[in-house]
């Protein structure tokens, strides 16, 4: 085979069990390989290679990359990359040597990449562990922007920026691994060796895109994800499924940005920075890869100190906390605060009126009734003034707003529940529909097969009946043949005896007592030779009490011969028997060939005809069977086609609906939390009432 066929991951695992044999490199020969649970070399695999951790005798640890797929011009590419990186002094770099014949597998040598081992965690795993440390995530976003800036500055590109190739070291700095697809100026025009992870690339990127701009789309995607997670850690759980091979956005979001639920959630984010970034990234989808803009990080010293990221929500909790407050802490009841000068003046008004009324009553300026009336007017005016102050006051307004927000949140929750209900029902419907399709398919298949089975059975039954009948005929014919042969033989024998007997004349027999006269009488009765009669019977003559002999002629008549009594008749009959016995001794015991042939020939045609009939029946049955089978195959194939279409359609609908359901679930969950918070908030306002305000204006409590 002309092309090099690269060993599989398992083949490398096998070879690495003997490093003294598989490596030539002095440092690697006999080195210790890190093992897995089964005590076999532990692989970390990508799509193009498996990487193994190998520790040399001198204690240095290497990452040995073994290739499982061909990369065009691999050696040239690595040399160019190695030369170019040597000139750079960047922290993200990982040292490596390309060894073109580095490893032997099953007797053949293959290249390896000997890299410095990086003790680090891949980006998604790091985020899983640090998602709630917003400051650390924001710092990482900064560092990532810095790394991208360094690549841009150097005029190079990695080609496959993604969570598996961005490793986070213990001190929080980033390392970039996997330089298979890297662009350096020396490789201009070579074409891309790979086009990167599906969940990080522009849908329009192709292999001919290969220049310093190939990381731009993925840079924006990664930066946006880090910034959004720093702003609201809850997004990490909301927009991704656990173990997803992406950050916040996937291939589906890029191919259909308008239909993407993730984009729409991010576009409505509270933090304006996130909204702006998302809008920007969404717009990148339609831009040809080489025209994409360079990553522009948010222009602040450090994202982590930005307070805009912690905008309070109605409950005063930052947005990202919402998900993490299963039952919100009770909000303490609200109280009136600060009796301002206006409240004081209202109290003064009351005091003035009351004092006035008392004075007027006491000094008898007016009637006591009028004084009381004056006081009452004062109280009424005071209460009215307080009512106005209460309604205008910040506490009552806040209380009213809280109640309005609660009502709105309740409505929103009801709406979200309805939406979730609809989505869930739809999802159940889809699952049931898919099940039904499978069930119908199975039933139809069964019906088709059952029909086929029973038709085949009927056919077989008819056919074997027919065959049995033909077999019966065959037996009949051969019986007949046998019979006919036997009869023919009998006839031939009878004829032999007859002709022999016909030659023996009674006159020449010399029988005792048969004189000329008697011979004459016999002759008159038609009996000349032994062949002329075949037996004698007797009739009893009632009148004379004697028996009269009657000769059976071969012609069929019985005759009486005058002059022959019982004795003579017996004698003649015995003589005839004796002659017959003698004649039988020479009779034929089988049919003459000619006769045999004639008879057999007649039957052979019959048998042949029967054989043909059988063959025809056989063929007809076979043909019907073939037709049945053909129909079965055709019916099943047609069923397959319709089932496949139906199943595919159902599956498509289901997977189209899945994001809708997820979104509805997330929405309902959110709405529930928000309502609970709003409800707490509203309940805390139950102390804000007018009577309490009156009390408060007097007592300050």
């Amino acid at each position: 085979m002309a092309t090099a066929r690269f060993p599989s991951g398992a083949a490398y695992v096998e070879a690495l069990q003997n490093t003294a044999l598989c490596f030539d490199d002095p440092e690697l020969k006999g080195a210790r390989v890190e093992l897995d649970k089964l005590q076999r070399p532990r692989a970390i695999s990508g799509n193009f290679a498996s990487v193994f951790s190998v520790t040399a005798a001198n204690g240095r640890r290497y990452a040995i990359k073994c290739f499982t797929r061909e990369v065009a011009d691999q050696e040239v590419r690595y040399r160019a990359v190695s030369d170019h990186l040597a000139k750079l002094d960047h922290r993200w770099k990982v040292g490596f040597t390309y060894l073109p014949h580095g490893i032997m597998v099953e007797g053949r040598r293959y290249p390896i990449l000997k890299m410095d081992w990086v003790e680090a965690t891949s980006l998604t795993r790091w985020l899983d562990e640090h998602v709630h440390d917003s400051a650390a995530v924001a710092r990482l976003a900064d560092r990532f922007a810095e790394l991208v800036g360094e690549l841009e500055w150097a005029g190079i590109a990695h080609g496959d920026l993604q969570h598996g190739n961005l490793l986070v070291v213990g001190d929080g700095s980033l390392r970039l691994v996997d330089y298979d697809g890297m662009f350096v100026p020396a490789l201009a025009g070579a074409g891309a060796a790979e086009i990167g992870h599906r969940n990080y690339q522009s849908p329009s990127r192709t292999q001919s895109d290969f220049d310093a701009t190939i990381d731009r789309f993925s840079s924006w995607v990664i930066y946006l994800s880090l910034v959004a997670v720093a702003a609201e850690p809850a997004l990490w759980g909301q927009l991704r499924e656990e173990g997803g091979e992406y950050l916040l956005l996937t291939e589906d979001d890029f191919t259909d940005p308008d239909g993407s639920s993730r984009f729409s959630i991010l576009l409505n984010h509270v933090a304006p920075e996130v909204r702006a970034l998302v809008g920007h990234v969404q717009a990148l989808v339609g831009i040809p890869p080489n025209l994409l803009p360079e990553l522009k990080p948010i222009p602040v010293d450090s994202l982590s100190t930005r307070s805009a990221f912690h905008q309070p929500t109605i409950s005063g909790l930052p947005a990202w906390m919402v998900d993490h407050v299963p039952e919100a802490d009770p909000v303490p009841d609200k109280h009136f605060t600060q009796r301002g000068p206006v409240v004081w003046s209202a109290t003064l008004l009351l005091v003035a009126f009351v004092v006035g009324a008392v004075l007027m009553g006491a000094l008898a300026v007016v009637t006591p009734v009028a004084a009381a009336g004056f006081g009452a007017v004062g109280v009424v005016l005071w209460l009215a003034d307080l009512a106005v102050l209460y309604l205008r006051g910040p506490e009552a307004r806040a209380a009213k707003q809280a109640r309005t927000q609660r009502d709105e949140a309740r409505q929103a929750r009801v709406a979200a529940d309805v939406e979730l209900g609809v989505a869930t029902r739809r999802s159940d419907e889809l699952v049931n529909a898919a099940k039904e399709i499978a069930e119908t398919g199975r039933k139809r298949r069964q019906t088709i097969q059952a029909t086929h089975g029973s038709e085949l059975a009927v056919l077989n039954q008819e056919h074997s009946k027919h065959l049995a009948m033909l077999a019966g005929e065959r037996t009949g014919i051969s019986n007949q043949l046998r019979q006919e042969l036997a009869q023919a033989l009998l006839a031939a024998q009878a004829e032999h005896v007859r002709s022999k007997l016909a030659k023996i004349e009674i006159a020449a027999s010399g029988l005792d007592g048969f004189g000329d006269k008697l011979i004459g009488s016999l002759q008159d009765a038609g009996i000349v030779t032994a062949a002329d009669f075949d037996g004698v019977g007797y009739m009893v003559n009632g009148q004379f009490q004697n028996r009269i002999a009657q000769f059976h002629l071969t012609s069929g008549y019985s005759v009486r011969v005058p002059g022959i009594g019982e004795v003579k008749a017996n004698r003649l009959e015995e003589w005839r028997r004796e002659q017959e016995r003698i004649a039988r001794l020479t009779q034929p015991i089988r049919l003459g060939d000619g006769q045999l042939r004639v008879i057999e020939a007649r039957f052979r045609t019959q048998m042949l005809q029967l054989g043909t009939t059988e063959q025809q029946a056989q063929a007809a049955a076979q043909q019907r069977k073939t037709l049945l089978n053909q129909r079965l195959t055709r019916d099943l194939a047609a069923l397959d086609v319709s089932q496949r279409t139906a199943t595919a359609q159902a599956a498509q609908e289901q997977s189209r609906h899945l994001p809708v359901l997820r979104k509805a679930q997330a929405g309902a969950e959110r709405a529930r939390h928000q309502y609970e918070l709003a409800e707490q908030e509203a309940r805390a306002q139950r102390t804000i009432t007018y009577p309490r305000f009156v009390l408060f204006s007097l007592t300050g409590r």
Binding site: S8, A10, I195, E245, D640, A651
Partner: protein
């Protein structure tokens, strides 16, 4: 485009291996090899499981990109896992990887690179032992696989289509396997119809054949039947086959005669976007 769904932990797919365990598998494979067909097939399965485990190994361990069933058919049809997985159908790959029945030390003579041979010991995980008795209920086995695939698809309607890989000497004793094979291929996810591949081990001799596109060169009726039951390789897998040096066409099928089929695992893409390599 069909056969382009992402294979991930979020969107895993399933592999169903069918292993012929009939009495005829006791016969030697023929040629220079003293191996029995049953041994060849058991080794192939153990290799395939190793291959899948290595392919899906990441820094923290093996990821559940696949759920895997190994179904034997001979005196009965059912799970062929030995050891702690015995009796189970689909098992998440991480669990498969950690639970072989045992790990054998195998001594092998390998080229030393200088024209000689040296003896070396490798650790070989074993999930399934060679078994050979009774008839070859291939139709029932295919129906069993179909039921696994159907159930899987209800829960994973958007997955990369399930793959059924049948390893046999081809001599079905319970009828023509064509219809049940079509039964499997009739199931589909949103990403395409389920795939059925076949490995034919035979003492029939002749050249080993890998991924042919016509049944003309095949040695006997069994291999032709199996070829015709096999799915056409999806475009991307075909491209990888081509880069690995196999000659392929639009009609190339997932069928192998007396040759290695473990390479099929190398043709699967995880994460990286499929490229139009050729």
């Amino acid at each position: 485009m069909a056969y382009s769904a992402e294979i991930s932990r979020v969107n895993p797919t399933c592999f169903v291996f069918l292993v012929d365990q009939s009495a005829s598998m006791n016969d030697p494979i023929g040629g220079d090899s003293p191996q029995r067909k049953a041994d060849v097939v058991a080794d192939a399965i153990n290799r395939l499981l190793t291959e899948l485990s290595v392919k899906c190994a990441k820094e923290e361990g093996v990821r559940d990109y696949f759920h895997v069933a190994v179904i034997g058919y001979g005196s009965s049809v059912g799970s062929a896992y030995a050891g702690s997985l015995a009796g189970r159908d689909l098992v998440p790959l991480s669990e498969v990887a950690d639970n072989p029945a045992r790990v054998e030390e195998r001594v092998k003579k390998v080229p030393d690179g200088a024209g000689g041979l040296v003896e070396t010991t490798t650790r070989f995980p074993v999930w399934m032992d060679p078994v050979a008795n009774a008839g070859t209920p291939m139709c029932r086995a295919l129906q069993y696989a179909e039921s696994i695939v159907a159930k899987w698809l209800v829960d994973h309607p958007g997955c990369f289509p399930p793959i059924v890989l049948n390893l046999t000497d081809g001599e079905s004793t319970d009828g023509d396997p064509d219809a049940p094979a079509a039964g499997i291929r009739a199931h589909a996810s949103a990403d395409g119809a389920a795939l059925l591949f076949n490995l034919h081990v035979s003492a029939g001799g002749g050249e080993p054949v890998t991924f042919p596109d016509a049944d003309g060169g095949l040695p006997d009726a069994y291999s032709r039947t199996l070829f015709n039951m096999s799915s056409v390789l999806p475009t991307d897998m075909r491209s990888y086959a081509a880069t690995q040096g196999f000659s392929v066409s639009d009609a190339t099928r997932g069928f192998v005669y007396n040759a290695d089929i473990a390479s099929i695992v190398q043709f699967l893409d995880i994460g990286t976007r499929a490229t139009d390599l050729r």
